[in-house]
């Protein structure tokens, strides 16, 4: 899946598997959770790719593995062509600077004992990018706060509990950007914010991307947000990527039946596709037991015999549009 411009993608995930061992009950047997199961995806420099999926799909695990918060079971991740799991410590330190993450919960991701100033300057101190000079540090924090639309004079000395959810998220963004990353992974950055605040943060992220020439991996369960902010969307289900396409193409001409189900589940609209999903077949939130063949087959209204036997591969079915389905939609 080479990037269209021909230049090397900023991030390349190849055949990534992240499995967790879990014990059922106190004396129960060990089971394996297939959180990320053979995922291959690339992100081109300067693009915003949204990763869409429900809980348990593996999207957060994938994100955390990219920033090396998880160890992979097998597979590779290349950042600017370099294998991130075969790095020297110096190279890892560079990675930790250039690839940043913004988390979902603005109430958990800031240290409640640190002021906004301390929160923003701390990463620079850890990476040895600032001197003890107070003026220098002030200048950096001021610049970052202005960048995210917060007034330095009133906000610099505040503690997180004195800020609103939206403001905290802006501080988290400022902190992430203070190290001058080129890849930002945002894991549901607006899901926990009030509706009227979300748009402001989304617009901020868009502006910053242009100004600072960033690349985003944007994780969300909200298709509306994914459509608004990204040019390309990848859909994850049960540890696998089931469809990747340009945003409008995915929404208007989905190929995979799970994508179709997601679109049909958008509430409050007359425009969604009509799907008769099986209500009584419960989605196994138990990730230790993936269905045979295509993982979506127990819930798929179009599943045929082949689907429970043969796992479909993610292939390019149309220009720039990939799907892993034995009997894709006509589109």
């Amino acid at each position: 899946m080479a990037s269209r411009t021909g230049e090397r993608p900023i991030l390349e995930v190849r055949g990534l598997k992240v499995y967790f061992q879990k014990r059922q009950g106190i004396i129960g047997r060990k089971t394996t959770i297939h959180a990320v199961d053979d995922v291959t995806i690339t992100i081109a420099s300067g693009e915003i790719l949204s990763l869409v999926g429900e809980s348990g799909s593996g999207k957060s695990t994938l994100a955390r593995t990219i920033v090396k918060l998880n160890q992979p079971t097998s597979g590779q991740i290349f950042y600017h062509g370099q294998d991130v799991f075969k790095q020297t410590r110096k190279e890892t330190k560079q990675l930790r600077r250039r690839v940043q993450m913004i988390f979902q919960d603005p109430y958990e991701s800031l240290n409640p004992h640190s002021t906004v100033f301390d929160t923003i300057i701390e990463p620079s101190i850890i990476h040895g990018l600032v001197t003890r000079n107070k003026k220098n540090r002030n200048a950096i924090v001021e610049r970052m706060l202005k960048l995210v639309g917060l007034d330095p004079a009133t906000k610099m000395d505040r503690y997180p509990h004195q800020l609103s959810g939206g403001e905290r998220q802006r501080v988290a963004i400022a902190r992430a950007l203070s190290l001058e990353p080129d890849l930002l992974i945002a894991d549901e950055p607006v899901s926990m914010l009030d509706v009227s605040i979300r748009l402001g943060v989304l617009h901020l992220l868009q502006t910053l991307k242009e100004e600072l020439k960033l690349t985003y991996l944007f994780i969300t369960h909200d298709l509306g947000v994914a459509r608004y902010i990204s040019a390309r969307i990848a859909v994850m289900y049960f540890g696998k990527i089931v469809e990747v396409a340009e945003t409008d193409d995915l929404i208007n001409h989905p190929l995979h039946h799970y994508t179709n189900l997601l679109l049909a589940s958008v509430p409050g609209t007359e425009n969604s596709p009509v799907v008769t999903a099986k209500l009584d077949v419960e989605y196994a939130s138990n990730l230790a037991d993936p269905p045979s063949g295509c993982r979506f087959h127990p819930r798929c209204p179009y599943a045929k015999e082949k689907c429970s036997v043969e796992e479909p591969k993610l292939i390019e079915l149309r220009q720039g549009h990939y799907a892993a389905c034995n009997y894709p939609l006509p589109g």
């Binding site: 429900e54 809980s55 609103s164 939206g166 403001e167 009030d194 509706v195 009227s196 605040i197 979300r198 748009l199 402001g200 989304l202 617009h203 369960h221 909200d222 298709l223 509306g224 947000v225 459509r227 608004y228 929404i251 189900l261 997601l262 679109l263 049909a264 589940s265 958008v266 509430p267 409050g268 609209t269 425009n271 969604s272 999903a277 209500l279 009584d280 419960e282 989605y283 939130s285």
Partner: protein, 333 residues
Amino acid sequence: MIPQAVLNHETAPTEGALVEVKNLSVTYKTRAGYTKAVDDISFTINKGEVLGLAGESACGKTTTALSLIRLLGSNAQTEGQVLINGKDILTMSQEQLRNLRWKQVSLIPQGSMNSLDPVIQIGNQIVEAISAHTRVPRRQAWEMTTQLLSSVAIHPSRARNYPHEFSGGMKQRTVIAMALALNPLLVIADEPTTALDVVVQKQLLILLKGLQSKLGISFLFVTHDLSVIAEIADRIAIMYAGRIVEIGKKDDVLKHPSHPYTEALVNSVPKVFGDRQTLNSILGNPPSGIWPTGCRFHPRCKYAFELCKEKEPQLLKSKTGSQAACHLISANA
């Protein structure tokens, strides 16, 4: 201040109105002082209708919902009237309340799927709810339970499971089954689908709507999610800073909003389908506890003018037939 009930507000025929809330105010006593979380609101819920109550954090919607079943804590002072089937629940005795709760009015609280007892089988929890409020014998209660579970698309054989063996969606359906167990007239649902995945949410909303129309139950559906409200509600009330700023039929409120806040809210939700939009964010934050002077929305309103800072607008009938509290409406009248 003229009570809203006296003004031109929406008059549903009293025969059709199951719930009549009149000048409801709730003040919380906190360490920081007194906060009026709900400030003089009035609305009705008709028989068999779903009233959606929408708003962001600290707008007072959960407090309003809980006051309808008188479940606010002891630090809450409630004023006004809440008439259910003509009787004011705010003046009822504990005995009368016991007869009301679960039988006439039931509640699906926020995060309720996480408050199922982890050490009791699902079926037994429903039976317990039935037994606590009726004299139905245990065997009959079990029969009712299996029927209830079927009605929410859970196979009766799963009544012996424990909550941890259920998915989030199934737990939520269990809680809905419990709330419907005694055929109440009114169900108060506080963010019943918020923690659920979108596919499960859709299934649940279809289920709720089906049960609601089949059984003729009225719903007060509280949520911050406008798309969910668009899916399920017949009428919508929008709350902001403890007040109702707009109330009317769903399509009127969402497609032709009369209040600037409603308009801004509707326009700040990115849509999945349809033309690409340029959306505009609303400046500022929703207030919490300390309300601005005059119209509480004025600091964030793009149409605000002098009067808005000084005088609080009352709910008046707008061009679309909805009620909205905005000086622009009286200006155009």
